[in-house]
Symmetry: D2
């Protein structure tokens, strides 16, 4: 089969062990419900801007994905839970028919949250029964689609947290999603010296990046195929840019000096009256030092920690900071060289912290830190098809390929990415002015 997801004829070879995937199915589905647990039915209704979806919409849409990618194609006896849900919970798939307009998702008090819970159970029962009943041939055909729908749901788990943070930021009562939980092993960190990054050097040469979809483990079609890229020699920082460093940029007039900005970035600064990353608030006298800056987090507002990676910056801000610092953003292939052989460890959503953590006091020379987790790192690479990429036909072909215009690649995952979801070849993408997602940056430079 050409396209996405990449499927072999033998489900087992793909780690598509039936029992294991069923267990993972239960765990992922429960995980979404757990993330919604601190939120009231009212909280789960709100859409604070067009880019944001209500929590309960995420809960329903991720179920719709199982219905559309797995149940309808593979279960001839499947009965729809509700005839209108295909219309209501289709996100952007033109081939599946007309759909409710994205900016109007916040108008749906009905279906009630209870109904969406029932929808989830309906889907879960049907998927579990289908997995159980499928013969080997069918399982070999469908396993990759189950895997895709699971990975899709994990993407929406990140969006649930990303979106509810924005929703709460619009509420003058400053609601808290969950109480503050210090990150593992970082109880005493922060508010100290933010140090300097060290640099790892890579010589020029032909490298391979991306993956071939029929290897081990799930990957999205946009990570394929593996392909050669020539890179000039470069250096890349051992850690992401920290709040303390970003504050220097602000204090040096970064948001008032057009010379650092892309033309569209400078226009955004003026139109949106940006003076700092999203969720930063300056208390009291703006002339004072950085201690006055406060950060809105999912655990409420607290003082800015200079040792944490800067988060919630747009690509425009990331690029302006890099120019101010005399550096540049890395290419996505450069980033992938850095990440290629590192273990996928870091501060992920499963830690329950839901916020970038302070970095290690000093990165040991040659050892990259906070590559995975904490913050998505903007690259200077436009989101485009890899050489040889071809979108699948039908609904799956709309998953990624049609968004390859106008967006930039981010790498590495964030503090709200589910653990196990991200990898070195993983490509996230947002528009240059977007900043409600957990995005930061890492510096690079030519040798």
């Amino acid at each position: 089969m050409d396209g996405q997801p990449k499927i072999t004829t033998d489900g087992k070879d793909q780690g598509h062990n039936r029992a294991e995937i069923l267990a993972r199915f239960r765990a992922v589905r429960d995980g979404s419900m757990d993330l919604a647990a601190p939120l009231s039915a009212e909280d789960q209704c709100i859409q604070s801007m067009d880019d944001v979806s209500p929590t309960k919409w995420h809960l329903a849409h991720t179920s719709w994905a199982f219905e559309t990618f797995v149940l309808k194609p593979f279960d001839p006896g499947y009965g729809e839970f509700h005839p209108d849900y295909n219309y209501l919970f289709n996100s952007y798939y033109e081939t599946v028919g007309p759909r409710h307009l994205r900016p109007k998702r916040g108008l749906l008090s009905r279906p009630a949250l209870d109904q969406i819970h029932a929808y989830r159970r309906h889907i879960e029962d049907a998927v579990a029964a289908l997995i159980d009943a499928a013969n080997e041939k069918k399982w070999a055909e469908m396993a990759a689609f189950v895997d895709l729908a699971l990975n899709h749901e994990q993407q929406h788990q990140e969006l649930m947290l990303t979106d509810i943070k924005h929703v709460f930021s619009c509420n003058p009562l400053q609601p808290v999603y969950q109480a503050y939980k210090p990150a593992k092993g970082n109880a005493g960190a922060g508010r100290g010296d933010f140090g300097k990054p060290e640099w790892i050097e890579f010589p020029e040469g032909l490298v391979e990046t991306g993956v071939d979809g029929n290897g081990d483990g799930f990957t999205f079609d946009n990570e394929s195929p593996r392909h050669k890229v020539w890179l000039n020699g470069f250096r890349i920082a051992t850690r992401p840019v920290r709040n303390g460093e970003y504050l220097k940029f602000i204090e040096d007039g970064g948001y008032r000096r057009p010379e650092f900005w892309l033309s569209n970035g400078w226009a955004a600064v003026q139109a949106e009256t940006w003076t700092a990353p999203l969720y930063w608030r300056q208390q009291g006298d703006a002339e004072k030092n950085g201690g006055d800056w406060r950060l809105m987090t999912l655990a409420g507002e607290r003082a800015l920690d200079p040792v944490e990676p800067v988060c919630h910056v747009s690509m425009f801000e990331a690029a302006a900071f890099a120019k101010w610092a005399g550096k540049r953003l890395p290419l996505e292939a450069e980033w992938e060289c850095l990440a290629a052989d590192l273990p996928v460890q870091g501060n992920f959503a499963d830690s329950g912290h839901f916020h970038p953590v302070p970095g290690p006091e000093a990165a040991t020379s040659g050892t990259a830190a906070q590559v995975f987790g904490d913050v998505w790192e903007w690259t200077s690479s436009a989101y485009a098809a890899y050489p040889g990429y071809r979108a699948a036909d039908g609904v799956l072909g709309e998953y990624n390929g049609k968004f390859m215009s106008g967006q930039m690649v981010l790498r590495g995952g964030s503090a709200v990415t589910p653990e196990g979801h991200v990898r070195a070849s993983y490509r996230n993408f947002f528009y240059p002015p977007d900043r409600w997602q957990f995005s930061g940056l890492r510096l690079a430079e030519d040798i």
Copy 2:
């Protein structure tokens, strides 16, 4: 005291009997809760357009009004329920300080509905205690303010129903606010011949309209003072325009022929692609007869009843219909002449029907029908100050006066106006393109 509300030094003379007003206070406050009862917490969160407020916002704002107009000025020991509520639930009073922006009312999942219920009880306890404890002097000072806040809450009861209808109209699941309840004594009506209005003639002359605020019973400041108006001789229809008549206008190309429309109205027809009143939906073949038209109501969708008064038309549509019919809209003073001596009877919210009802089979000559209730009737009078009107100082001065620009007067109340709230001198006002309110029209002509 100059201005609004009109207060005499002796509360008793104003019907400001303490026990009676307390009973009314309980009844009105309970009434708001009753109206919200069919709605879930999620339903009560939604703001479907800038003009619409979420139900729970109405519940809170009407409490804020008692706090602001009664408790804070008259109860020195009053303690605020929550320090942020003055910011959140101030609708438009500049003198009370900054406020949450109107288009963002739908982002407030918090305070939760439960909290707003608690706020209501807090206010109710404090107001009841204050009424109970006030000496005669204080009571004489404050009674009119209690009365104002009660009338204010009744206005918002109408808005609660008006707004939730719009909210539900945006939901593809077509939620129903309450099951259909045939109007009293009209069980068999409808779908028949819609007849012709008869005409009542008034000779030219000097009339008096409006009221003097210090007469019996509560009135808003915009109804004062009573003043003379010269009217040329005119005729006015015995009943409002009916769906069946309006359908003739549609079928005659009314929405495609600019000659009937005000210039701004024609621009609205094109920009909004209006082809019928709001909440009308044509099923099947548009070339077929009127039986295909269906109406969305608070009780769900049903076939258009030609004998019901047309409802949810803008002033632009009302004026275009009148021009098509060779008539005109009445002046508000003309309407008031018609209504002046009639009993305030009709289909009001307290009937539980929440929808215009079919009119009497034939209006007996000389007897006006459906003057009160059913539909607000657009007049051709711009909403302006009566001669001698002067807005009060401070917060009360913002209640009505500052809106006297760009709006038109409507008269008579509607099927969602609380019974007892409206009267012959009552002036409602909306912008010419507005049509989510329960608005219809009655024809008039020169003699």
Copy 3:
């Protein structure tokens, strides 16, 4: 014939003397060309906002009006100058067919100005020939239409000056339309004490306003019919509000204090960041006295003269000033009472000054000053049909009637109104936020 213009069967009775009207035709047509004379072909192309039309469009549209109102209906042999001009130069007449969109008038480099001059001559020759050749019967039919087209052209003469002022205000080079010419008899005026208005008192009573269209002299249909209005007793100022007085309002925080403003007005102040009338510019230190304010005029920029009537204020600003002053705007009927018996004298366009002039040092008690000319005076009356008004059928019916929504009446004419064009019953109309026209105000109050 019902409607507008009011025509009798005998042209002579209407002052429709053929020789006289022909002379007036020549004079008015030449007058338009004279007004355009100081402007280059490039100047005459510019549309600086949707409300503004390029000068050469005015020159063409006024010719189109003769073609549409006079030549096509009355001259069977008339040949169009160009087949596309009906499309290009129709302003807003739906009944005449599709038309070029108003906001795109500034894109028409073609037809070249020369072509438009040729079009004007073509029209003038045809109209003159038609007037000459018409028999008595035809002349009786057509005379009023010639008169209408002439008055229409005079209205556009005012707009030509109003619009080019706005065009030039958008040009950083600050072009000057014509050199400054001191107003007749006011050479030494200005910059002195701006004095206080005196007040003229009118007792309550039934008055008649408006005119009956078939009386002497041309009137627009919106001035008809003459009708009774009851007025309470009132006082009205002997002169318009002056720059010096308005400056006091500014210095008292008028643009920062919502309590003076209509709700929509306050929204406009904030959205448009208004801090003074249009064309006022503050030079240097804003904390200094009024001498720092400068005024952009058609003769270039100069120091604000405190004795001139304030000009280029919106109705929102006029109403806010009046409230600040403890007064109100007059009703249009009140204004007409003041003006009814006064000679139509004042500073008009024919003086060549094109700017409000300083008022008389002190208005002699009981004598109203600057009633006509200088500035259009905002009233508190919404622009609506007079009782008994009925728009004509066809193209003429679109002249005035369809604009009777959302606008307010202004009275008296301005410094750019052609002399002889205005009268006591004349009704001009603009939207409340408009202020590029020459609009000021006169105060009134209740007795």
Copy 4:
């Protein structure tokens, strides 16, 4: 000297022969005037959308560039022609100070065209004198800046034609820029069979693209430095896509089928109601064959020629066409491989045709046709910095670098590009929805 333009210490080595550059200066400056010659002063005022600049603004801005890049830095005695021109004619250089807003360029009737002509002469005299008087050291410093300003003016010559085409397309009179002049040697072409492209194959390998700025001849900084790129094997069409082929796409429902479109492209199709390339107009019955399509050109409207390269398509349309055809757009490096060794010959502005010409009847196998001239060819490469690129400091650094966000690269030049201006390494860039420029496409595919 770091940055752009790349300058060596010896002007002669760069082909910066003083006499030759002076001759070229005269020729380029005269060329701009020649292009404006068919246009009236009025034509030269018009700005038909924000992206378009008036012709006379181009004439002035190209003079401002000489003033800013050459005269002010190198001529200490230079006196400005007018103190406001730096404000009026600065396009986007933040470092040069505040500037007139781009969307308001069409409001500038002043300076008059005559004044801009005088400004041009003032600049030309000063530049010629400076070139003449400069000693060798100064000449070596300044020669590259003169060259830059000349190339800048050539870019604006293309924009003058591009923009006036759009201006005229907005005019219902359909003005013609110049009479139709058949392209050299193609008098009888067109309206025949549009054939099929052949394909040239390139094996995989490491290639070098771009240039090093200090080589022979002028290049822009965005073409540097020369750098290695790995390319997979690919095939590229011998000629651009033709109108006849594009028409097949339209007839196959291309504009109604979302499956071919990028998500943002499909949104643009719906929002802009695109049904064909810009300047295509379908006459008569839309169901008929392609003979009904007509094309608006600078020489007026004429029948669509199926053998001409399709022009005025957005990148969204180009990509949708490619997907429909089962192919893809080339990478810019792939295109550069094709073009690298070809002579820079084709239909350029200097031919006086100003329109894509029909392609050769059949491309001889292996021979690429219409690589240069006719139409800019969209690539799938986002406009980004080449590895090692570094923008210059100061005003020159704003020339290209700050626009490297959100745009796509186009290659090859067009029928309105001045001859001699373009080369294999030349990178043009526009936003994906832009289509008023002369843009087409060439297909590619993987081997």
